[in-house]
Amino acid sequence: MQHTPTPSADAPSHIDTVRCAATQLDLVLTDDALQRVADQWARLQTMASALTQEPLGIADEPAPVFTP
């Protein structure tokens, strides 16, 4: 059985990113919580990479106030 690939949250860059952001946001995290949040942050990074499947041009505006 295969497992879905998950980016390694052990990478120092993820922990460092989360620690830095937590400091900026006045968010106090224990070491355990920091690791868990880094795991989640890595998942968000995977999602963000999927956005690039949709090539955008300069005419592609965001949906600021959404009205379908």
Binding site: A22, L25, Q40, A48, Q53, E54, L56, P62, F66, T67
Partner: protein, 459 residues
Amino acid sequence: MTTSNSSLALQVAGPLAQAIASGEISALEVTEQALARIAAVDGAINAFTAITAQRARDEARRIDALRAQGAPLPPLAGVPYAVKNLFDIFGLTTLAGSKLLATQSPATNDAVLVQRMQAAGAVLVGALNMDEFAYGFTTENSHYGPTRNPHDPTRSAGGSSGGSAAAIAAGMVPLALGSDTNGSIRVPSSLCGIFGIKPTFGRLSRSGSYPFVYNLDHLGAFARSVDDLALCYEALCAGEPPRSEALLRQSDTPLRVGQLGGYFDDHAGPQAREAVGMAAEALGARDPVNWVGVEAARSAAFLITAAEGGQLHLDHLRTQYDLMEPLSRDRLAAGSMLPAAWYAQAQRVRARFHARALELFSRYDLLIAAATPVSAQPLDSEGFELDGRMLPTRANMGLLTQPISCIGLPVVAAPIRHAPGAMPIGVQLIAPPWREDIALRAAKILESAGVAFATPVPI
């Protein structure tokens, strides 16, 4: 209709309202039966977090007094219902599934949709369990306990409106309200085997409900029949769209139906594929439809949710991290750190995907996809298997619903008849913006053909 007391709570709303209007039974008797059913059943399900017995009896007595005066009764007169506990209920604290909010002051007014249900004569019997702050697909709430699936109490009812769906499936109420940001009406509808409607984004007022993601939050309803769903939706709209009879009226022109393939087929398990096939055949789906950009749209929904949810709860994360739901607080914290560039990109992807949807709807009236990749999973399940891959349950039960709510399309979730002993699963009937009537009509076709089917679970 049969009005034996033991079966009253299991009835659907429409005939119940007619029986009350004709004097066959009083609203108070119906209310007492619903309260008794909840008392007898909910210990095994844990759908309710509060019972509003006194209010329910007062509302029922008002209906009975109206009838005694010979006054015309509103369409849902005397019909019991309950709401997800993120709706404000006068005199109750709005929990939104959280322990943090339990010490807040009680609501000083009803949510707008609760006001509309009251105006339609419905009788509020309680508030329903949910994932904390609506961030989850399983209603495994560490503070208030998990809501159990009436079809198999060892399994999840789905979420985040799990209490709403379970209360309907267990026959405790015929109608319930919930919310759907990424699938929180459609997922529990599918897993509990009932009908649910997530209207077009912006259709229904969110005033008086606890928010999660301002760009994605929808409110909607659950029922055990399409007629009831249309009746409830009509009441929630307060007369803006056509009446329920018109909503369900079949047209001479057949619907142009497309069965979504690609991403939606790749992420559906065997039972989900079979359900979609049955619905597609009954609705005369013409072609498999490949909707380009779905995976990016799902990612956009995921990122927008994380960023807005994280920002909304930043003060909670700063000051009361230990009191927050362990199953979602780390996701909220990570979301609060999301780079602005990702958020902006997600909003641009979303707009692009919406444009593609409008182009698709120039060729189709309705699109069909499974509502969940698999049926209900055991409580505490960390993952489920899909085509040989293990996917985390809590993040992925909504992977077929997220791309749709990302662009606010109206959807009816319809439970597809399943083999005896199998767990239920549902399909999404996806209509163009503001065309809830098309999704309801399609659900009615499936129900009339015996393809879609919901019945209360005998407990």
